[in-house]
Amino acid sequence: MIHLENVEKVYRTEAGEVRALDGVSLDVQAGEFIAIMGSSGSGKSTMMNIIGLLDDPTAGTYTLDGADVSKLDDDTRSKLRGRLFGFVFQSYNLVPRMTAVEQVELPLLYQRGTNRRAMALEALDRVGLADRASHQPNQLSGGQQQRVAIARSLVVHPNVILADEPTGALDTRTSEEVMGIFGNLAREQRITVVVVTHESNIADFTNRTVRMRDGLIISDERRLQVIPSSASSPDASIPVSEVGS
């Protein structure tokens, strides 16, 4: 459903041109759970931003569910972004002084529909944070904040969740919990999950690893089965809501 073909992204700066993406082609199917790896500056975030319609490519085409979305106007991109994508960031990116449930309601504010509160509570419940609904970010641990961010990304029932180094600020145990949640979302709800990571044990949770260097994809490996890296990894039989806490 995601199809990138020879996508380039060139930033023009005072110091000259930066070729952040230098002709990237990638195909992603619904329900895939993908890790993007590569050293810093290799273009991972740039590619994520283009996939998530936060940015547009300088050259090449991006086809989403068969429609060319490489050159959309800002408003259309915003609308599609809100409906189809959920974002999770390394720094959580929660709004200060806003309760967890309000954070999760945020994407629904920009869409039609009612029952925002109920949907937000349901999403919080799915990441095991129903009892923290009225907590503000500074009253939550890093892992809990990231789970609020995940709840916010999935409240709109997105097709794709894009997580840019979601475990970068978390300890190993919490990182594994987060990856467990992503794995379940991909498996049970056929949400495509793309995770940028530096750590191979995190990448091991996924069933495909794409490696980048200097704005190019240098390898793309699929694994047929999830190979948990440790015994504490979640099992498909455990509901997401019971993970962690």
């Binding site: 936060l54 809100g82 200060p96 002084r97 806003m98 920009y110 869409q111 709109v156």
Partner: protein
């Protein structure tokens, strides 16, 4: 995003940072309050002046000596300063039988001390004729007003204003008593003929004491005219109710110009309407001045609002990035900040109105450095101040909101 959601979001953002919100609104609070107070003060002053002039009585024309220029120094004296009018001028106007004129009363007024028993009081002495009562609509409460025989006999009789009578004769019963009128070295005893009804208003006219004009120039040397005429410093002319005053003023001017045989008139003819108009002009200027000061403070308040809105946008760059990432369009972000500015200015306007009305009511009637303040709160000034505050809020919120909407979502998300 619905309007209701926008307002709710704005209220939440305002409540989340009360200090910043308070500072943002403060400029507008002060601006709105000062517009309301200053316009109330200006209008109050205007009403006060108009009430005073109306208190003179209606359908009146006043003739006064013109301001005189001292030929050697070129210094211009105050209007009415030089005594060039005489009781004979008043008689000439009467004899001219100008249509529309129903009564004429000359007057010679000066300030003097009135002494009776143990009481001593500064009063305004009005030397006049019996027609004064009708012309100026002044009614006697007890006793009688000056009569024709008082004029003929130049009698030492006096009619007291209500306040004068109350001060000199606290026990009442002023009629027939003696009052000494002293001016400089000279003083004469007058017998009280009557007491006037209170005139109210500023109370100025209740402090008058009336004496036959003929008696004044007969007794007080300094009032004597070199040619033996009776000098007056004002001629009051009552016109028929609703009569057009301009032609009457012209006719009076003609009569006096002929009598005085002067090129530049040494007198002025003014109707009550002229006075009201002139006073209105002055107080309108005052109102405009006060209003402009208030307007400037409102604009300064608006600039403060813009300043803090800009800071707010910078501070919340990451929040803007988050909202963009979850589907907010540039216009949604813009609307959020504009709504915040409008809600803030509404709140600021409401508080400012409360303070402004409170202060204007609080100082009404108070004595501020010797002047009795009079305020008149104007509904239009509240509407105006509120409208301008909203407009200023809208304008000062628009630019920061525009900047917020134009932010690159990716850079916004990365900002600290």
């Amino acid at each position: 995003m619905s309007i209701l959601d926008s307002i709710r979001t704005a209220l939440r953002a305002i409540a989340a940072n009360r200090l910043r919100s308070g500072l943002t609104a403060l400029g507008l609070v002060i601006g709105v309050a000062s517009v309301i107070v200053l316009i109330a003060v200006g209008q109050g002053a205007q009403q006060g002046v108009q009430e005073r002039i109306r208190g003179l009585g209606s359908d009146l024309i006043f003739v006064k000596p013109a301001a005189q220029t001292d030929r050697s120094t070129g210094a211009r004296g105050a209007q009415g300063g030089g005594i060039t009018l005489t009781a004979a001028d008043a008689d000439a106007i009467t004899e001219a039988k100008i249509p529309g004129v129903v009564g004429i009363a000359p007057q010679l007024s000066f300030n003097a001390q009135a002494i009776a028993q143990s009481q001593n009081l500064g009063v305004t002495i009005i030397g006049t004729t019996p027609s004064y009562a009708d012309v100026r609509d002044a009614r006697v409460a007890q006793g009688a007003f000056i009569g024709a025989d008082d004029i003929d006999r130049r009698s030492l009789t006096i009619v007291l204003g209500s306040a004068v009578a109350a001060s000199l004769f606290p026990d009442g019963d002023a009629i027939g008593q003696q009052v000494r009128i002293a001016l400089g070295p000279q003083g004469f005893n007058f017998r009280v003929l009557g007491v006037m009804e209170p005139r109210g208003g500023t109370g100025e006219q209740d402090n008058y004491a009336f004496i036959p004009v003929s008696s004044l120039s007969a007794r007080f040397q300094f009032l004597r005219n070199p040619r033996g005429d009776i000098s007056v410093n004002q001629i009051n002319i009552r016109t028929a109710p609703g009569a057009k005053q301009e032609p009457i003023e012209t006719a009076i001017t003609d009569v006096l110009a002929q009598r005085h045989q002067v090129v530049t008139p040494d007198f002025t003819v003014q109707s009550q309407n002229d006075l009201v108009g002139a006073a209105a002009e002055v107080s309108r200027t005052l109102s405009i001045l006060l209003g402009s000061i208030a307007g400037i403070s409102l604009i300064v308040g608006g600039i403060g609002t813009m300043n803090i809105m800009l800071v707010s946008v910078t501070e919340r760059t990451r929040e803007i990035g988050i909202r963009r990432a979850v589907g907010a369009r540039g216009t949604d972000v813009m609307r959020q900040f504009v709504t915040e500015a409008i809600v803030l200015s509404l709140v600021g306007g409401l508080i400012g109105t409360g303070i402004g009305v409170g202060v204007a009511m609080g100082i009404d009637g108070r004595d501020i450095s010797g002047t009795a303040m009079q305020t008149a709160i104007q509904t239009w000034s509240i509407v105006l101040a509120f409208g301008v505050a909203l407009l200023v809020g809208l304008i000062s919120g628009s630019y920061p909101a525009f900047r917020a909407a134009r932010l690159d979502p990716i850079l916004a998300l990365r900002s600290e």
